[in-house]
Symmetry: C2
Subunit: 395 residues, 2 copies
């Protein structure tokens, strides 16, 4: 499929030699400076490029390009790792002929090994030479590790009569090569937005998408989500919560949800996408906590895999989340079928004839009847393949 | 193996018919009243017998007997479930000829189905008639669900020149039949102890044993740990932190650790026992939090299964625990081999020749160099069998 890049953006992805045969170096470039916001992993162990990018963006949020390598996470590599990340950013800035500090770098791959810098530094000229308006597929490929498919989502919409484009790429739950399920996502738009609007849109949209997914509960050392707005659509400036902000948020939410769902679906060995909705919670934080506990429960994941409408596991994992509620009031609905109403079971279900948990997309809905807040979390089932993939891999 | 019951205790276990062929009803009885303490699940969803027992023990902690059934958890069964639990306790008290409210009942098994009470009520006479000094094996069998082996541990030791016996039984990580990994443990002693001493000993010992294990992160609705002391050894009264308390604690810790390790080892599909020690933390709560994150990480469990010294996953799961530390100072030692010192990797290890993570007991040691507190957590690896066991089971 061919995706449109927003105005003024170019992209490319190549194999420079960090990996043997697959693409391992990607660039996203804007002809003008972008107002940029980013969210990084909260893991105490942060990879060198994450440490560098956080520092950079505090000083200067006018960014021109992102360069990403896959194959090595440049994490737990100390001072040398940090110097390597800097070298990579400086080399890219020189070749792109943009100011130092306007190129952000990311890495994903194996932890605890120094980067082989030669292929990356040597590959930079070819990477930049190949920049094109059609390069987004190549860039999306370049950031993949064990991902089984590339993840791109795009929307074009009107802001005050002016067409605006938003295009995002992501990589997901590849947990073999990189050691961890590193999630990277770059969202590019030609919308004209204030710095605060960029920041708030990214934060709020991530809360209901990337921060609402769980594959195996582990948080990567390299997770990065970025939004870059170069303003080249020349729409009237979108301010935080001002005119056009709602439309932009709506489209951003669609793109981030689509990418987040793809990340979950690509969870290693996953066979089904699980959507968990908790409502009737006292606060949305509590709703999310309970939903994450259900979505992350190994026993619930196993039940989904086996097509077993095991509502007892759903009840118990919600109860074990730390969220207080009265189980005597609880409702549990699985794929539209009510299994529990006001804490009372609806009797036995013939697992062989029911269609519950048999499809590709399964839904778990819990009402705690304890308030008015709700939250939704996406997850996947777990399969023997996950275990096989993750147990036989050499550091 | 033949285990000694403490003075004045009798036990039995039979098949009354809740399950088809295996033992499903157990009793532990003391000739005199026991000072009793208990810890129950913190899950918001609590089984009927847990609700009843908590209430009972608040009123009266002089307990004469415990009766446990397996096969049905009597959970999410509402008012009828609570009435059933009461009936079971009252019937047992009548047959044992002890005061009402001095019999505690527990249940473990499937969630969300009403108990069939006839076999339990009808079986009570036979259960009590068979009480004997040698009945502890039968009782330990009666509380099992999918456990592969019975769990008993016993110590006899001197308190001020007087021999005292402590014997405990437990059931563990059976996650198929009961829906969840219900853990039950009953500790019996003839030590003469104050109420406060019983309570404190149980609390402190559970913190370093039962509360320091993780199999799949799910908390059961029925978890119960009890300590009953009938004083029949006639030693000088052990007061909280007084003479003899330390010796009792030491032996209690040995028994609870032994039982906790058995529970972990019996984790469904587990092939290896994992001991995670985190030291150099600011507080012991932080040490435990980090240790639990490592021990509970699916990716770490997979690495242990595969015999892969994947220290990157250990570092990352510690970092993702929410505990703040400086990764540049971190040490990671796997089975005695230093893989990380002061945040620096010790180079590649040949996975084929190393013995790390190849044995039955594996050790992960992390030093955060951030303080003086430490904690230890036991866990197990995960295998394809776990997935198979837990995905194909009918509610």
């Amino acid at each position: 499929m061919k995706y449109t890049l927003p105005k003024g953006f170019l992209a490319n992805g190549i194999c420079c030699g960090v990996k043997k045969k697959r693409k391992d170096l990607a660039v996203l470039y804007s002809e003008t400076a972008c107002r940029t916001a980013a969210l990084f992993t909260k893991n105490s162990v942060k990879a060198a490029p994450v440490i560098l990018a956080r520092k950079q963006l505090r000083k200067n949020s006018d960014i021109r390009a992102v360069v990403v390598n896959s194959g090595n996470a440049n994490c737990m590599t100390g001072a040398r790792g940090l110097a390597d990340a800097k070298k990579m950013a400086e080399k890219a800035a020189a070749v792109l002929n943009v100011p130092k500090d306007t190129v952000v770098v990311s890495s994903t791959g194996i932890i605890g090994q120094f980067m082989r810098m030669e292929p990356i530094l040597d590959g930079m000229s070819g990477l930049v030479a190949g920049l094109s308006r059609d390069g987004i597929n190549d860039a999306a490929d370049g950031i993949m590790t064990t991902d089984r498919f590339r993840k791109i989502s795009s929307r074009t919409f009107d802001i005050g009569g002016v067409p605006v484009t938003l295009t995002g790429i992501a990589k997901g739950a590849g947990m073999i090569d990189p050691n961890m399920a590193t999630m990277l996502c770059y969202l590019l738009t030609d919308a004209n937005m204030s710095r605060d609007a960029v920041r708030k849109a990214l934060k709020d949209s991530s809360d209901v998408s990337f921060n609402a997914i769980t594959v195996d509960g582990d948080m990567s050392t390299n997770d990065t989500v970025m939004l870059m707005a170069n303003g080249m659509a020349e729409n009237r400036l979108i301010k935080e919560n001002g005119a056009g902000f709602g439309i932009f948020r709506k489209n951003l939410d669609e793109v981030t949800e689509e990418l987040a769902r793809m990340v979950v679906l690509d969870g290693e060995g996953a066979t089904k996408l699980m959507e968990v909705k908790v409502k009737g919670a006292r606060t949305s934080a509590e709703a999310k906590k309970a939903a994450k506990a259900i979505a992350g429960s190994l026993l619930v994941k196993c039940a989904v895999l086996g097509g077993d409408p095991n509502w007892g596991r759903v009840a118990s994992s919600a109860g074990g989340s730390g969220v207080k509620f009265d189980p005597e009031k609880m409702d549990i609905t699985l794929d539209g079928v009510a299994f529990l109403r006001n804490g009372k079971a609806r009797g036995k279900v013939d697992r062989k004839t029911t269609s519950v948990f048999k499809g590709h997309d399964v839904k778990i809905e819990v009402d705690l009847h304890n308030g008015r807040s709700e939250a939704r979390v996406f997850s996947c089932d777990i399969s023997k393949k996950y275990i096989a993939l993750n147990s036989y891999y050499t550091t």
